[in-house]
């Protein structure tokens, strides 16, 4: 587990002394995802994680777009807003910017966040309002029954692409890093412990955090992440990024390491063939995002090796804080606004 990287994310959100458990965060609504859907595991992980934060439940809000994943808020016994397709980051921005006392979570899918809502996502990331964005990536449109999505691999055969999809997918981590995100991480529905560790850091980060969660849609894209789950392949391809640790993965003879490539970027080499000193030590706090970006490219093209964990966690002032400071500054400079003075400002004349 990485150390708590900045810890200010929740400083303004009121805490409770009452003991909370998973049950406190379950709403009375029946969960309606398909049996076996990865969303269940993520829901349970979030519900079991939140008590750890010790926040007052009424100060937590889940805002979502549209998609299977976006039904999430209905199942949380917190405040919730199930909005419209792609717009959750915008709605959450208004809420979080005007209410710094709230812990605001955005739940979105790969279509919701990266197709229709792509513009809002990138601007939310660069703007850095205090939000946690959980992107459920099943690499498919679940709710509309299985069309390819902007994270589907090229050649994906779906109802809308019977001869295979033509367009290159987004890598959500690369996109987020390119969009000036301060906190970028990836985790997976099946690994609750890892999910918890990432959520913990995301919550602790003040500003916008983006957590991509690989999520299995067992109906329309089953097994998309099996290589990261099956015991035979799991440890050979999963690169677990941990701050301050050398980046190594694989087992036995196949043990591998990541080093800076002489050609630029990073590369995977057999561990036996490199000196320990050459192995890249992961630094999530590196101000320059280019190494994080290079790491995010390691899974391209076909899941040969897939980094998970926190790619980047860098502090910078949150938009809502700066906005509040401007309001305070204005009031301090000229005094709090008085309506009568405002209306009578400018050139006036009196008619008797």
């Amino acid at each position: 587990m990485t150390e708590s990287l900045n810890g200010k994310g929740l400083a303004l959100v009121p805490k409770t002394d009452a003991k909370q458990s998973l049950k406190d965060f379950k709403s009375d609504q029946e969960v309606r995802w398909c049996p076996g859907c990865g969303d269940y595991a993520i829901l349970a992980a979030v519900q079991s994680f939140l008590p750890e934060l010790g926040l007052r439940r009424e100060n937590i809000v889940f805002v979502s777009g549209i998609g299977c994943s976006s039904r999430f808020p209905y199942y949380m016994n917190t405040y919730g807003f199930h909005s419209i397709h792609g717009r959750a980051p915008a709605i959450a921005t208004g809420l979080a910017a005007s209410r710094p006392d709230l812990s605001v979570w955005v739940i979105t899918g790969d279509g919701d966040a990266l197709s229709i809502g792509g513009n809002h996502l990138i601007h939310a990331l660069r703007r850095n309002v205090n939000l946690n964005i959980l992107l459920f990536n099943n690499r498919i449109y679940g709710l509309t029954k299985g069309q390819y999505s902007p994270t589907s691999e090229i050649g994906k055969i779906t109802k809308s692409t019977p001869m295979g999809s033509l367009d290159k997918p987004f890598n959500p981590i690369s996109l987020a890093l390119g969009a000036e995100a301060g906190f970028v991480a990836r985790t997976i529905d099946s690994d609750r412990k890892h999910l918890h560790s990432v959520l913990r850091e995301a919550a602790a980060h003040r500003g916008t955090s983006l957590v991509e969660i690989y999520q299995n849609c067992n109906i329309f894209n089953d097994g998309a992440f099996d290589a990261l789950k099956e015991p035979e392949t799991r440890d050979e391809i999963t690169i677990r990024l941990e701050h301050g640790q050398p980046i190594v993965f694989g087992t036995g003879e196949n043990e591998k390491a990541v080093r800076l490539s002489p050609q630029g970027g990073v590369e995977v080499v057999r561990r036996a063939e490199v000196a320990e000193s050459e192995i890249l030590v992961h630094d999530a706090h590196r101000p320059d995002p280019s190494v994080a970006f290079a790491l995010s490219r390691l899974d391209d093209p076909a899941f040969e090796h897939v980094p998970i964990g926190i790619f980047r966690s860098v502090d910078r002032p949150a938009y809502d804080t700066l906005m509040s400071e401007q309001l305070e500054q204005a009031a301090a400079d000229k005094g709090k606004g008085q309506l009568a003075d405002l209306l009578l400002g400018g050139d006036t004349w009196r008619i008797a």
């Binding site: 609504q29 007052r56 209905y74 919730g80 050139d347």
Partner: protein, 615 residues
């Protein structure tokens, strides 16, 4: 030489020049002087969408018209008495509006061969006799300015630029305007460039002195202050009044204002204005697009703010889905549409009333939204407060339909006392409202207003989820039950239909008119001015003006049916007429012009007279 002073009751001046000539600034300053002097006034800025269209061309002409009087007036005037033409293009573009006998003050320095050719003048109209019907004052404004500024530490270009201040000085002399405020203004505007400030003040004073000494003007004019209702007045544009109305609504409701907006002509000035008033706790958020602007405003409303978004027609089109979400979630939201000429980009700086049906119906599903439209620039203040009252009391998005004419036009405004403003405070729900005393039912309605309770995040025990999916009446849980949906559709409609709005008032002097002329929005001034003309000529006509377009005042049908004929002028192809015909089966007579400009009073007077005569 002592000059003659003549008394006038009203004057219409139009300043016209190239976009780069500073005509809007000149007009604004003359307006400020006139307001200070105490005349009633009304203004009409008219400028191209391009920041700098090619110099000297017809599309590059920018103008500012000002009507001022010793009595109360209603419009910026149909036809200027004076045209200030800074170049041939300005003359050519505006001559058609100029009645015979009007004064033309032309800057001869710009009437060069090249400039004349640019706009298709074969010969110089100032020198041939083509302007014989007008009183032409040909003055070398540029060279007079440059001469007056000899010895100032500024470039020739900067000296030439000050010609608009020379013109302003001349006109200020001609109409006996007070000058101190303009001098102060110039000193403040160019505070960082003292040489430029001094030069502009000097040009302004040189223009004044020129008037006093030249033989081109043998008469100057006095227009006495108007006797308006007692009170403190200031001059205000529609956009500024609207912004102030939103601030007042925030203060009077006790809710912090959150504005989510994306720049668009002619609405941007509301964003600019509100951005200046952070000390009122106002958050202004320039979003990545209109959808994010309204989304952020709605998110803030969920959190207990007064959520507002400001835009023009193209932006309203983008916001439609989110406004629908506000209808479904029943959250308060103000959507300001400063209408402009469409479709598509249309004519961004020109006015129109063509978004009424979009405001009413431009969303999927049965999605009723209240619509309020201000009548004059200063009325934008009250209309904004009224929109907030409805949004907050009924938990609904409200469309506030201003337009380009109101937005940029200005008039004297009697500043209200804060104590005169309505109390629109809201109480958030803080206790469970279920029968069992522990559950919270977010869609349990107030029996009177049908508004749902508003519990904001941070309130313990009332955690709940809302969204765009159909909700069970009361509990707000997801529901696909057919009968529940039918009930919710009708409840949402009934809530809007039941909004308390004041009755439609009719101005029918003697009570024996057979023709009613009805209007909405910014046509108020021209219609009222036309009605005055008709009455002065002995015609009988009643006037009524709709400020609430949804719901309509309860007596609307009765009013329409009590006249033989109802005439409805609109700057669209009959959008309100369509609604009234459908609702009341009244055969409204539509009069429509869609030229991007307000109606002229004379034109409407003729139309009214024709309807009266058609008996």
């Amino acid at each position: 030489m002592t000059k003659q002073v003549q008394q006038l009751d009203r004057v219409i001046i139009r300043f016209a020049g190239d976009s780069g000539d500073g005509m809007q600034l000149t007009g604004d300053r003359f307006t400020a002087e006139t307001a200070k002097f105490g005349n009633d006034l009304s203004t009409l800025p008219n400028f191209p969408a391009e920041i700098r269209a090619p110099a000297g061309t017809l599309p590059g002409v920018s103008s500012f018209q000002l009507h001022f009087a010793d009595h109360d007036i209603l419009t910026p005037g149909d036809a200027p008495n004076v045209l200030v033409a800074m170049n041939p293009a300005a003359l050519k573009a505006n001559l058609g509006d100029l009645p015979r006998g009007a004064d033309i003050i032309a800057n001869t320095d710009e009437f060069t061969k090249r400039n004349l050719q640019k706009v298709g003048y074969a010969t110089n109209p100032l020198e041939d006799d083509s302007l014989a019907e007008w009183r032409v004052h040909s003055l070398p404004l540029t060279s007079l300015t440059v001469k007056a500024l000899e010895g100032f530490a500024i470039s020739k270009k900067d000296a030439e630029r000050a010609k608009n201040m020379f013109a302003l000085g001349l006109l200020s002399w001609l109409y006996h305007r007070p000058t101190e405020a303009t001098i102060k203004f110039l000193e403040a505007k160019f505070a960082k460039k003292p040489d430029i400030a001094k030069a502009n003040v000097a040009a302004f004073q040189a223009g004044w002195n020129y008037g006093e000494t030249t033989e081109s003007f043998s008469v100057s004019y006095e227009i006495k202050p108007a006797t308006l209702a007692p009170g403190v007045y200031r001059n205000i544009s529609g956009n500024q009044a609207l912004a102030y109305g939103l601030i007042a609504a925030s203060v009077q409701s006790g809710l912090p204002l959150f504005l989510g907006s994306y720049p668009i002509t002619p609405a941007s000035d509301i964003l600019h204005e509100l951005s200046k008033h952070k000390r009122f706790g106002i958050r202004t958020f320039q979003a990545e697009d209109e959808i994010a602007g309204v989304g952020a405003a709605l998110g803030a409303a969920f959190g207990g703010a007064l959520g507002v978004t400001t835009t023009s027609g193209p932006g309203v089109a983008l916001k439609a889905e989110t406004v629908g979400l506000a209808v479904a979630t029943e959250l308060p939201l103000i959507v300001v549409d400063v209408q402009r000429a469409g479709p598509s980009t249309g004519m961004p700086t020109k006015t129109e009333q063509t978004d009424l049906l979009m405001a009413m119906f431009g969303r999927n599903g049965e999605s009723p939204v209240p619509v309020v439209a201000p009548a004059t620039p200063s009325d934008c203040f009250d209309a904004a407060v009224e929109a907030a009252r409805i949004a907050l009391a009924y938990r609904t998005p409200v469309m506030l339909l201003s337009d380009g004419y109101l937005a940029n036009g200005s008039e004297p405004w009697r500043v209200p006392e804060v104590s005169e403003l309505p109390d629109i405070s809201v109480e958030f729900t803080t206790e469970p409202n279920g029968e069992d005393g522990t559950t919270y039912l977010p869609f349990k309605r107030d029996p009177e207003t049908l508004a749902r309770p508003w519990a904001v995040p941070g309130t313990p025990g009332l955690e709940h989820r809302i969204g765009g999916i159909e909700k069970a009446d009361g509990s707000g849980n997801i529901s696909y039950d057919p009968n529940n949906h039918d009930r919710m559709v009708r409840l949402r409609q009934a809530k809007i239909d039941g909004i308390d709005v004041p009755p439609l008032e009719v101005d029918d002097e003697d009570g024996d008119a057979r023709v009613l002329v009805l209007g909405w929005g910014s046509t108020y001034g021209p219609i009222a001015a036309a009605v005055r003309r008709v009455r002065k000529d002995g015609g009988k006509v009643a006037q009524a003006h709709l400020r609430h377009l949804n719901p309509l005042p309860a007596n609307t049908g009765d009013v329409l049916r009590s006249y033989d004929r109802v005439l409805l002028p609109e700057i669209n192809l009959g959008q309100l007429a369509l609604l009234l015909r459908a609702r009341f089966l009244v055969d409204v007579i539509s009069y429509n012009r869609v030229r991007g400009l307000p109606f002229k009073a004379e034109e409407l007077a003729g139309v009214i007279q024709d309807v009266i005569n058609s008996d």
